[in-house]
């Protein structure tokens, strides 16, 4: 089981984390890995905190693990990185989107947004901060932040140029046709970051 890697995606509902994990798992299967992915959906609302866990390797038993187990994490929003640090292996790589979404609890004054989120995560984890909103805006659509982050993740995992999987083809089959080009551009920008 030592070859099994665990990826944690944490995001806010509506940011495209589930689409991202679908692309990721389809590609990992094409690359010849055993893959399991765990997510919880069903609350269609946007704005809630969501996570998915993807595990891949030669043979994967459990789709789900507990604290201190993720080899690499991607936070689609910076405070979400803070929320899920306990799931990460000590010292693990954490890709954090420098993007902020104020939750209702903060908007109504019931809680405070941790202004030091990135500094606090960086102090403990091997953190890569990605300005995904800026990059996505530059390629033409701020809502393609998820593909920027996917590109950055695959580069970190050394899988972006795996010969067995054409990631752009996987992306093309997963997104609506009219958004295909902008999503692929966002992905490339993420790999190049």
């Amino acid at each position: 089981m030592s070859d099994v890697k665990t990826i944690l995606l944490c995001a806010v509902g509506g940011q495209g984390a589930i689409l991202t994990s679908n692309i990721l798992t389809d590609g990992l299967l094409k690359a010849g890995f055993d893959v399991k992915m765990s997510e919880v959906h069903g609350m269609a609302q946007r704005g809630g905190s969501v996570t998915t866990q993807i595990r891949y390797g030669k043979k994967v038993h459990s789709a789900l693990l507990g604290n201190g187990q993720a080899d690499i994490g991607v936070a689609f929003e910076r405070m979400e990185a803070v929320r899920y640090t306990s799931l990460m292996k000590p010292g693990a790589r954490f890709i954090v989107n420098d993007f902020r979404l104020t939750p209702m609890s903060v908007a109504v004054g019931a809680a405070e947004y941790p202004e030091n989120a990135i500094a606090a995560v960086s102090a403990v984890f091997d953190t890569v901060v990605v300005p995904a909103a800026d990059i996505a805006t530059e390629v033409g659509n701020v809502r393609t932040m998820n593909l920027v982050l996917l590109g950055a993740l695959l580069k970190e995992l050394g899988l972006a140029d795996n010969p067995d999987v054409d990631w752009e083809e996987v992306i093309a089959s997963a997104v609506p046709e009219k958004l295909r080009d902008v999503n692929i551009k966002a992905f490339r920008a993420g790999v190049g970051f």
Binding site: S62, G68, V82, L101, T102, V106
Partner: protein, 588 residues
């Protein structure tokens, strides 16, 4: 071909490959996507959304009686609704194979309780299978059909959120050719009179004995021998968890058919190992059966009886192993799900909350996105029990206020899909017993929370055909609500007028109702032009009134309101409440 599939997709694929012909369901997380994945096989399978789980169960059972392999799916609480036909179908038996796929929700991710539906298989005396991953979901569907037809019984496939919504690789195959068993009447079998039921009652007991023998011999239940110090009996999603925890040194007894329990096989397995663990989520279902057979084991004395398990929970509970993880010097603010930016319910709940600061209204809610209006800043939903309960709970509360001489007005609030589910019966209760309740249907023209399924009010079927639209106003009027106020809740002035009108009517002794209709902003089939609102910081007076509409796109940035452009859809509810006209619609 190997494909990544969720458990739900695999169950649908399994039904197709097993020669299934008819499937019915009411959507319910985490079971919904089983039926959603069937229209792709429309050349072979008829599938439908039923108004509720009882109706779905009966329709699918009717299809079995008529001679084809049929499927009904539901979440755990849906099985409570469908329990009535279940217990009698268990007596009458089947003609075509009949499978009910029931999805439990340990950890209550998206439900109103955490029940262990395995008890239903036991108490209705039918067979139950529990797949542990997507590949088994597909395989077990065919096996369930076989058991159903061989033993003349409904078969339950019990899954959980983690099975339904986790993806793993599945090898797909060809569809089996299962010919129609041409229907012939069989009155003693299918008419549940006391005389017939008494005869079936005895058959059911014999069937249980036969099924237990099958369970003991079935390859669905199998031992994997490693070392003999530790043996683990496990089922469902606990099987991969147990393997992560105990590794290759332990021996495993994998339970795929968990009712009737393969007790003799487990007895033989237990005799080979020194310590026997039983790892299962929720209740000690297997453990009780194993202990009742006089086999010593360690289970719920250590393993938590609530919430999802995972390898770490098991390791911690059994061996006190604590994970190594780091905390950081920051605290994340809570981020529970909220009504979306542009949610069509927002205007309704904002208006109710604004008018109810003194508590003169009591608001009974129901199951749906709108339940979230119980949270700040609305705090308007005061009860939520079960599907369709919003109107009937309101009816009971209103009678108490009447008996005790209290003049508070009670509102029952539920959604359009919930109204069709059985909220409509609550409307009849209010009208028949003359309760002082204003029933309100917050109609977003879809089954919202489960991910946008059609229902009898939308005009479309699961297979994409045009359907007869059951009118909410028409049915309310026909059961006795004289004044039905239909309103677009996003227009706050109109919403206020509708509320005033309904309250004035009920005070005048008339029966009134509100239908607050605007389609869900996320419905894909809707032609929706996304807009954008913007705050003019110079005009913003920092009064925070706009944050009272509870929109995730709006927050204070310092002393000024700010709108997030990735979330805002330009619904203008915030602009309508702004006293300084600081929020305007901008071109996108």
């Amino acid at each position: 071909m190997k494909k990544m599939m969720t458990g739900n997709e695999a169950l649908a694929r399994g039904f197709y490959e097993a020669g299934g012909r008819f499937a019915s369901a009411y959507p319910g997380t985490p079971s919904t996507e089983i039926l959603e994945n069937l229209p792709q096989y429309r050349d072979s399978i008829y599938c439908e959304w039923a108004p509720n789980e009882k109706v779905a169960y009966e329709a699918a059972y009717g299809a079995s009686i008529a001679g084809v392999r049929s499927l009904v799916t539901m979440k755990h609480v849906g099985l409570n609704v469908a329990a009535d036909p279940l217990f009698t179908a268990a007596y009458n038996g089947v003609t075509g194979g009949f499978v009910m796929a029931v999805a439990d929700d340990p950890s209550i991710h998206s439900s109103q309780n955490e029940q262990d539906s395995r008890h239903y298989a036991k108490s209705s005396k039918i067979a139950m299978l529990e797949p542990s991953d997507s590949a088994e979901c597909k395989k077990f569907m065919a096996e369930a059909m076989h058991i159903s037809e061989t033993f003349d019984t409904p078969v339950m496939i019990r899954v959980t959120t983690r099975i339904c919504h986790s993806k793993s690789a599945v090898e797909t195959g060809e569809r089996a050719d299962v010919p129609w068993k041409v229907y012939k009447p069989d009155i003693p079998k299918y008419v549940a009179t006391p005389a017939n039921a008494t005869k079936h009652r005895q058959k059911v007991e014999q069937r249980l004995i036969d099924l237990e023998k099958y369970s003991n011999e079935s390859p669905l239940n199998f031992a994997e021998m490693g070392g003999t110090d530790v043996g683990v009996v496990c089922a469902s999603v606990s099987r991969p968890y147990a393997k992560e925890v105990f590794g290759e040194d332990a021996s495993y007894f994998n339970v795929g058919m968990s009712w009737p329990m393969p007790i003799e096989s487990i007895r033989a397995f237990a005799a080979k190992v020194k310590t026997l663990y039983v790892i299962e989520e929720l209740d000690p279902f297997m453990e009780v059966a194993i202990k009742a057979a006089g086999i010593d084991c360690i289970g719920k004395a250590k393993i938590p009886p609530m919430g999802e398990l995972n390898p770490q929970v098991i390791n911690g509970a059994l061996f006190g192993v604590q994970p190594d993880f780091k905390t950081v010097d920051a605290v994340a603010a809570p981020r529970p799900p909220v009504l979306c930016a542009g949610c069509s319910h927002r205007g309704f709940f904002y208006t109710i909350a604004k008018n109810n600061k003194d508590g003169k209204y009591v608001i009974c809610g129901d199951i749906g996105c709108y339940t979230l209006a119980c949270n700040p800043p609305f705090n308007t939903i005061e009860t939520c029990v079960c599907m369709g309960g919003g109107f009937s709970v309101a009816a009971g509360m209103a009678k108490v206020f009447e008996l005790e001489g209290d003049d508070r007005i009670v509102f029952g609030v539920l959604g359009d899909s919930t109204y069709m589910h059985n909220g409509i019966v609550g409307a009849i209760e209010i009208a028949y017993n003359n309760s002082r309740v204003i029933p309100c249907v917050v109609d977003n023209s879809t089954t919202g929370m489960t991910g946008h399924q059609d229902h009898p009010g939308t005009g479309r079927t699961l297979m994409g055909d045009t359907a007869n639209i059951i009118s909410i106003e028409g049915t309310l009027k026909s059961v006795g609500f004289e004044k039905v106020f239909t309103v677009d809740p996003q227009d706050l002035a109109a919403m206020q007028a509708a509320l005033d009108g309904a309250v004035a009517a009920i005070k005048a002794g008339e029966r009134s109702a509100i239908v607050a209709r605007r389609p869900c902003v996320l419905v894909k089939t809707r032609k929706f032009e996304r807009g954008l609102c913007e705050v003019d910081a110079d005009k913003c007076v920092g009064c925070k009134l706009c944050t009272k509409v509870g929109c995730p796109a709006i927050a204070m940035s310092g002393k000024k309101a700010q709108i997030d452009i990735t979330l805002c859809v330009g619904c203008t509810v915030c602009a309508q409440v702004c006293p300084a006209d600081a929020i305007t619609t901008v071109e996108v």
